[in-house]
């Protein structure tokens, strides 16, 4: 296991669905896509998959040693409002566009016009390099052009910064694993990040902490 720095260079702004993107979640997503192939795109919605693959990372208890995203430069959040209308031919006659199949959406993408997204992690260099090379875009709303990756760099660094760097939590860490913490909130701290089972009272990323 090596200490790594992963830098995604972007060609378009990154849209967010949460203040942070998590590297372990990204790796698990790529691994699941590899595992399922085409079946990934027809997953059951009623019974979601809970056994996601375990990324090749070091773990501190059950917390992956992989940081949350550091977005550079970060000039603050922006919003892009857009209409999403059906791209299929409308039938003749009256249709309802307020609800149902032909419903229109007036959506908002919250984005940051960033150039780089940096992560720190400790894991298997070659495998992580292979997995991140398969990431074409980061964040949300990738289908409308947000977060396109121009280049990804993975390099070894001398220190482990995936959990804590300069006394700051680099990702959500459950407070039960901490001696001291500055701020806490209920956050998901391991993949799958959408699952209720992954949520615990955690130290907030980029606030002061001390590990047990």
């Amino acid at each position: 296991m090596e200490n790594l720095e992963v830098v995604f260079h972007l060609s378009t702004p990154v849209s967010l669905g949460f203040p942070w993107i998590f590297l372990d979640s990204l790796l698990a997503h790529v691994m699941l896509k590899e595992e399922l192939g085409e079946r990934y795109y027809s997953l059951p919605t009623k019974i979601p998959i809970r056994d996601v693959p375990r990324p090749p990372l070091k773990y501190y208890y059950d917390v992956p040693v992989a940081s949350a995203s550091i977005i550079e430069p970060n000039p603050g959040l922006q919003v892009f409002s857009y209409f999403k209308r059906g791209d299929f031919p409308f039938p003749r006659g009256k249709i309802s566009r307020g609800s149902g199949f032909f419903k229109d959406f007036y959506l908002k993408a919250v984005y940051i016009p960033a150039q780089r997204v940096r992560f720190y992690a400790t894991g298997e260099l070659s495998e992580i390099k292979r997995l991140v090379s398969k990431v074409p875009a980061l964040g949300k709303d990738r289908n409308i052009g947000f977060g396109f990756v121009k280049l990804v760099e993975v390099r070894e660094i001398p220190f482990e910064f995936g959990l804590v760097k300069d006394g700051l939590a680099m990702r959500p860490i459950p407070v039960r694993y901490l001696k001291r913490y500055e701020d806490s909130a209920y956050l998901a701290y391991k993949p799958p990040y959408w699952a209720r089972e992954s949520v615990d009272l955690c130290a907030v990323p980029f606030t002061k902490v001390e590990l047990k």
Partner: protein, 245 residues
């Protein structure tokens, strides 16, 4: 964010807020918002004695409540609907209640709560909300024997609201809209001029979405998915995503 102050679940930039406050105070005089407020009070005067003033705690209803309690009558009847912790985090609801009790200190305040709002399911299934809300409102209307419902609806908000008019006959009551002719600038100018309290989350949302587009609606509510609201909530109000706060 440099200089940002963490207030509740969201961050507010004080310097940004100060600049906008200056702008709205200048606008207040320039656009003669005082005259509009006087006209709104004159209009409301006809209805408050036999009416129930509905206050969500948002900017429009708080501005209207302030106009009524300072210029028309203090001991009015106020109705507030509590959406429950999963739709409005408790931190925000506490602030809303403090604001209402502060502005309408001599009013009789009737609070009814959405029972299903105490379950996480309320964020996904919004259909029962309407039935429960209107049932509670009808019961209260009958109990208090009021004829008018005084609402903070503005014509500018949507073409549907504009078409509705200032006085609307409903089945069980008549809806009246004192601040019907206010624009979003008028409302914010009135709020800044008279220090009308509004939930602080407004400022964080206003910074991102714009003062004209910011609205206090339920949080993480699938009903507003078609407007992209849950995504904005997840970024700005991330603390309340997994907890009712």
């Amino acid at each position: 964010m440099r200089g940002a102050v963490h207030q509740g679940g969201v961050e507010v930039d004080p310097e940004w807020l100060r600049r906008w406050r200056e702008y709205f105070l200048a606008y207040y005089d320039e656009a003669r918002v005082e005259d509009k407020a006087a006209e709104a009070a004159e209009f409301a005067k006809q209805y408050v004695d036999q009416g129930l003033v509905s206050v969500s705690g948002g900017k429009d209803s708080m501005a209207m409540l302030h106009i009524i309690t300072t210029r028309v009558k203090r001991n009015i009847r106020v109705f507030h609907w509590d959406h429950g912790p999963y739709l409005v985090p408790r931190e925000v609801e506490r602030e809303i209640l403090e604001n209402i009790f502060g502005v309408a200190s001599e009013a009789d305040i009737y609070i009814r709560a959405y029972r299903r709002g105490f379950s996480e399911r309320a964020r996904v299934d919004w259909r029962p909300w309407y039935a429960e809300f209107f049932k509670a409102l009808e019961e209260l209307t009958r109990q208090l024997r009021v004829r008018y419902h005084v609402l903070g609806v503005r014509a500018e908000e949507s073409s549907r609201r504009e078409a509705r008019g200032r006085v609307v006959e409903r089945r069980s009551w008549v809806e009246v809209h004192p601040i019907y002719h206010f624009t979003w600038r008028d409302v914010w100018a009135y709020i800044f001029k008279h220090n009308v309290p509004v939930p602080r989350v407004y400022y964080a949302y206003a910074k991102l979405l714009g003062w004209d587009r910011v609205r206090l609606v339920t949080f993480f509510d699938r009903e507003f998915e078609k407007y992209g609201s849950p995504q904005v909530d997840s970024v700005l109000s991330w603390r309340w995503r997994h907890t009712p706060g």
